[in-house]
Structures are given as C-alpha cells and as structure tokens.
C-alpha cells in the first residue's frame, strides 16, 4: 500500500483527480497470488470483477460462499478468490459442487468455469445438475475456444471459425448454451458479455441469491487465441462489436438466442422461474415414505427452516 504522499505525487503527475490505491474489491481476492495468469485484454478478469462486486452487493458472508472451478483459463478463477475455493478436475466442477452442496447446503455454491470445461468434457454433469435442480450457480465464460491449451475447437466455436484443431474452420453446430440450460430445467438463465459489466454484475447477484440451478453465460474475448486466429481485431474491437451487435431481450425463449456471425447478439435474462430444488424434494419424499424413520441430514436443517 502506498501512503498519502505517493498518492499526491501520482495525482500531480497524472493529472487524474483520484488515484485508486487498490482494486476496489481486493478484499475478495487473494492479493498474494497476484499477478494473475490471464493475458492482457482477456475477458475472464473483467468477469471476475463483476463477480466480486456481485457478491459484495449480495450481502452474503464470505464464509457462506464456496467457489468451484474446473480446468482452463477460466478454471483458474477459484484460485484467485478469497473464499473457500476448489480447483477440481477438467469438466467435473459441477459434480464436485453437487457433493459439496448436499453435504453442506448452507454454503452458496458457485461453479465458475470455461465453455470447454462445462460443455464438452463436463456437459453431462451440467445437464444432470440442471435436471436435478441442485441449488448452485454456474457461471460460464464463453470465449469460443479452449484458451488454456492453445485455442482448440470448443463445443461453442461458431461454424466455420478457425481453431488450432480446426485450422480450416469448424464444421460443427455449436451449442446455444442458454437453450441447453433452459431445456434441462435451469430456473434462471441469463447471457451477458464482458462489455455489459453492470448487467452482468446484477445477473450474477440475482443468480447466486436465487435458490435452484441458475446459469449465467458470459461472452468474452480471448484476444490471444480465438480473436487473433480469426482476425477479429483485438479485445477492444470485440467489445465494440459486443456493444454494437448486442440486443437485450429479457424473457425471450432461449431457443431463439443462437449466436450467429453478423446477427444480433441477444443478451438478457431468458429464464427466471421457480421449481422445488433437489433437497426439498428429497426431504418431502422421504418424509412421506419413511415417516418417523426418516432422519433429515443434520446439515440440511440449515436450509429447510
């Protein structure tokens, strides 16, 4: 931390009215782990900024939040947050989080990972957790490729766009992630880009405060790989593109929100509904079948009152 004199010098030298000494949400970060590994211009860090502001806004206590990541550039998020944090295996963050949530439901579980992690190798766990309505929030930073391993094809890579393992362009139909989440039973589904920092922050806050399986897709540039390989300019050009092409359509059926080149990028909250979550359903069923013989797991009492 610099002292006042340093600040005065900086203010004088830069001509800025105010110099921010530390990251405003540094309290939620593991400062001793900085600098982080993300490239300049990468959108993952921006999304984390929205996340930390969202948790601060949410009023949740630090000890009541658990962050779980898989593997990838986005998978490194867990390790930078000053929370109970778990960096699991590639694709399995949701399965880990399911066990953790059912053992200790008092904690608000957030799974924070990449598009490849969550929807290629981990796709099976995503659809089942959504179907079960396990109470957790999944935040997916969708940068349309595998960043960590050098820009390979992802299940989100748009058709005909190049990736290191699709040098002549992908010939596969990508997932429409909000539609996938909606059709599997997620109770909250939103999409924003890292250009929409305020909206993203609000969506994350809503998602983590909502009970049930909630999903937020975050479109984000990977300037080092996807953006460069496909000659989309740099990060700023991508943000400009997000700004120009995005259209907010809250409540739109997620079937209609495919991401297509040169078409509008549809953002907003597509699903916000209620469905009894896994734990409540289990408790009701067991009580009905077993009566007095049923013993509610001790840790479940916290979320039933």
């Amino acid at each position: 931390m610099s002292n006042d004199t340093n600040t005065d010098v900086l203010v004088a030298e830069t001509g800025l009215e105010e110099v921010v000494e530390a990251h405003p949400t540094m309290d939620w970060l593991r400062e001793e782990r900085m600098p982080h590994i993300w490239c300049p211009g990468c959108g993952v860090g921006t999304s984390v900024n929205c996340f930390t502001r969202a948790v601060e806004d949410s009023g949740l206590k630090r000890e009541d939040i658990t962050i779980v990541s898989g593997i990838g550039c986005t998978g490194r998020v867990a390790g930078y947050l000053r929370l109970d944090s778990f960096h699991t295996t590639h694709g399995r963050a949701i399965a880990f989080a399911t066990g953790l949530k059912l053992a200790h439901p008092k904690t608000t579980v957030v799974v924070y990972s990449g598009d490849g992690d969550l929807f290629a190798i981990g796709g099976n766990h995503f659809i089942h957790a959504a179907r079960r309505n396990v109470d957790m929030t999944v935040i997916c930073v969708n940068n349309f490729n595998y960043g960590m391993t050098g820009g390979q094809l992802a299940p989100t890579t748009p058709e005909f766009y190049a990736a290191s393992t699709a040098p002549y362009g992908s010939t596969e139909l990508p997932f429409n992630l909000p539609y996938l989440a909606q059709s599997c039973g997620a109770v909250y589904v939103a999409r924003w880009t890292v250009f929409h920092v305020r909206q993203l922050q609000k969506a994350i806050k809503e998602a983590i405060l909502k009970t049930g399986f909630t999903f937020v897709e975050v479109l984000s540039p990977c300037p080092t790989l996807f953006v460069r390989r496909n000659k989309l300019g740099g990060s700023l050009a991508v943000l400009q593109d997000y700004k120009e092409r995005s259209v907010v359509k809250n409540g739109l059926d997620a079937r209609e929100v495919d991401l297509l080149p040169d078409q509008p990028i549809i953002c907003g909250k597509f699903v916000d509904t209620d469905r009894q979550n896994y734990i409540r359903t289990a408790v009701e069923q067991m009580q009905q079948k077993l009566g007095d013989r049923y013993r509610i797991p001790d840790t479940w009492q916290d979320v039933l009152s």
Binding site: G79, F86, A95, G99, L100, L102, A103, Y294, R295
Partner: protein, 391 residues
C-alpha cells in the same frame, strides 16, 4: 436389537453377502455420504446405502457416471462428510483420475472395487483379482495408496471400517479391493456394539475462525508429522484446494522444488508408516521350505491345498495379505533369506507375483498360480505348484 439412537450400527449376527456387509461397515464407520453409479457386481452396496441412509441421516446420490461419483464424494468430504463410492471394472477405470485428485488434495474417502473379470466389459458377473496393480499404478503420476483385500463377508464389514480409519489417519483415499466372490457370497457376519467399534476421527485444524490457515502445512501437527490437519467449508479458513502441484498454502507452484517437496511428503507419509498400516496374516512361515502367498478369495482356496501338502510332508508356510498396498516388502525380503520358494496364488495372470519376485531378489524361487478369472482356483493346481517349487 440395534439401539434406536445408533441405527447406523446393526449390532447382531446376520447372514448377508459381502456387498451388503461392506455397506454396513461403511455405516458403522460413520459414513454419511455416498455417490455411486450402478455396476455389477458392486451394485448391491449402493442399493443398500440408498435404502439405509435416509434413516441414519446420511445422503446417497446416484450420479450420472463414475467420474461424477468419484468427485462428488470429494466435494462432500470438503463439506464435512465421511464419504464412500463403490464400483467395479470399467467404473474403476473411469475413477482413476479422481483417485489421483484425492491423493493430491489429501481428501480422505473410501473407494470400494468389487473386482470382476476384464479387460473392458469382461465378465460382469464373475470374479477376478486383476485390478490389484491398477489400484497402485492406475492413476497417472507417482503415488502411494492403501488397499485392503477382504476374503469373507465378515471382512468386508470389518475392513470397510479399517479403510475409513486409515483414510482419515493418513488423509489418503483407501481402496477396499473386494471381488465378485466375496461380494456375492453369503456368510455369517457379526456386527459388534457401537461402543466396540473403533473410529479414527478426522483430524481437524484448531485454528479459530478467520485465522490464517495453510491447508497443507504440517506445522500444527507436531514434530515429524506429515499429515496436515483438515478443514471444511464454512469455517472461516478459506482453503484453496487444487490438483495442481501446490505449496503449503494450497497455491499452485510450478517448480521442481515444489513438486519434490509435495511428492516426497505425499509418498513418505505412507512409506514411513508401513509398520502401522500393513496387516498380514502369517502361519508357519518360520521353518517353511515353501511359502504360499495369497489374498482375498484366492487365499481361502489355498487352505485345502496346504493341508494336503503338509500331509505329504512338505513344510509349507502361508502369508495372506490383508493390505495389498503398501506391499509388505520388508517381510518378504526377510523370508526370502530362509525359504526355498514362494508360491503366489492370485486370480490374474501375474500381478502381485511381481512384487514377490522383486523382494525375493533371486534368493528364493517364485512361482505363480494364476487364473484368468470367472471362478476360483482348483486346489490341485496350487498343490502341484508347491510340489514343483521344492523339487
């Protein structure tokens, strides 16, 4: 009658199979979380847990595959639970990545493998002991693991408890390496009073809420201790847990030194405690000319062969491995000095026999009585091997 306040311990004598006995052992050990994916011949274990947990305050969830089951239990452990997963053959292969994750993150849990014939789908309903090397070497990287091999339903019960205790004590996944025979064989199983069951509690950090806590520091556990005390979510300790090579704060550290420190501690915490961990059963080995070594169901088939060999005048000793891993290296080396030959009886085409060969170091001859699985050995084959060994 089981007492009503400890319904998880079904004190009394039962006539049940090894799968059910293993489930009861887990309950008696205090397991309160299980995740599984059905696979013959292990399914009865999860079926039993699914039926029993709701009245004992536990949670069972059938996951979408074995990858999910074997990591869901680890999430549960960090949520404070005592957890178990159960599988066989193909499922065991799928769980290998998460066995390594458990070793690396020092997450205690029990993994039951009711072995069937392989490779691939193999013999779903029939026994084998051909995953014994996979238990030790199946996950990538160097690691030390603990694995026990029961030879009866009673031992499925007893060893399930031992597995939990060892797992908590050493913060390592522990494998209960059953096989289809013991899994499906019905025998008398005596479940003791709850008070008579020895439970090793999880060693939790004493750091207060909000205090600085390093999840992989051994400072708190005293001189020479290699097993850091644990925490769980919600304690104000904010651990970071990763499968990457990490320092004592749990933070990734990609250096030769960090890898060396971590790997040495993770392997030494087992290697330097083999006297506490290893359990073997030894009979008449002192003056033996030939020692039969076996484990699990195969060890029981050795008995009639040994009785006959002794009648023929052969001086036969017997060693049964209770812990297959770590291997009783020291003891086999000692015995190799005095004995002429080892006969290794196992339901595979030669796995633990390699360990015996390695330890015998050419000082005693080593003979395999292998079997490709699907049924137990013919005692005649074991007898023939003993005769041949001393010729």
């Amino acid at each position: 009658m089981p007492s009503t306040d400890t319904p998880h311990v079904l004190t009394g004598a039962h006539f049940i199979d090894g799968d059910h006995a293993a489930a009861e052992g887990a309950l008696a050990a205090g397991a309160n979380f299980a995740a599984g994916y059905p696979i013959t011949p292990s399914t009865e274990v999860v079926e039993r847990l699914a039926a029993r947990f709701p009245s004992t305050g536990g949670v069972f969830i059938q996951m979408e595959d074995e990858l999910a089951a074997s990591i869901a239990i680890q999430g549960a452990v960090w949520g404070g639970a005592k957890a178990i997963t159960v599988t066989s053959g193909p499922g065991f292969s799928l769980m290998m990545e998460h066995l390594g994750y458990g070793v690396m993150t020092e997450t205690p849990f029990v993994l039951v493998n009711v072995q069937r014939g392989g490779p691939s789908t193999g013999l779903p309903t029939m026994p084998a002991q051909a995953d014994i090397m996979q238990a030790k070497w199946g996950s990538h990287g160097d690691y030390e693991i603990i694995a026990l091999a029961p030879s009866s339903p009673q031992e499925c019960f007893d060893f399930a408890i031992k597995c939990f205790n060892l797992s908590e004590k050493y913060r390592v996944p522990v494998l209960l390496m059953m096989d289809e025979c013991v899994g499906h064989m019905l025998e008398r199983v005596v479940i003791p009073e709850p008070d008579a069951i020895n439970i090793h509690p999880r060693h939790m950090t004493q750091k207060p809420f909000g205090a600085e806590y390093k999840p992989y520091s051994t400072d708190e556990c005293g001189n020479g201790c290699m097993i850091p005390p644990m925490t769980k979510v919600g304690m104000g300790h904010y651990p970071h847990v990763t499968g990457l090579t990490h320092d004592d704060r749990g933070y990734p550290s990609m250096t030769v030194a960090a890898q060396n420190n971590l790997m040495r501690r993770l392997t030494n915490k087992i290697k330097q405690n083999v006297d506490d961990i290893i359990m073997i059963e030894e009979t008449d080995t002192e003056n033996a000319d030939v020692i039969v070594m076996s484990y699990g169901i195969s060890s029981r088939v050795c008995h009639p062969a040994i009785v006959r060999a002794r009648k023929e005048g052969l001086r036969v000793g017997f060693i049964r491995l209770i812990t297959v891993w770590p291997f009783p290296e020291q003891r086999i080396r000692e015995l190799a000095e005095s004995v002429e030959a080892f006969v290794v009886v196992e339901m595979n085409l030669g796995q633990m026999v390699r360990e015996v060969e390695r330890c015998a170091c050419g000082k005693a001859s080593v003979h395999l009585v292998g079997h490709t699985g699907g049924g137990v050995h013919d005692p005649e084959d074991i007898l023939a091997a003993m005769r041949e060994a001393v010729e």
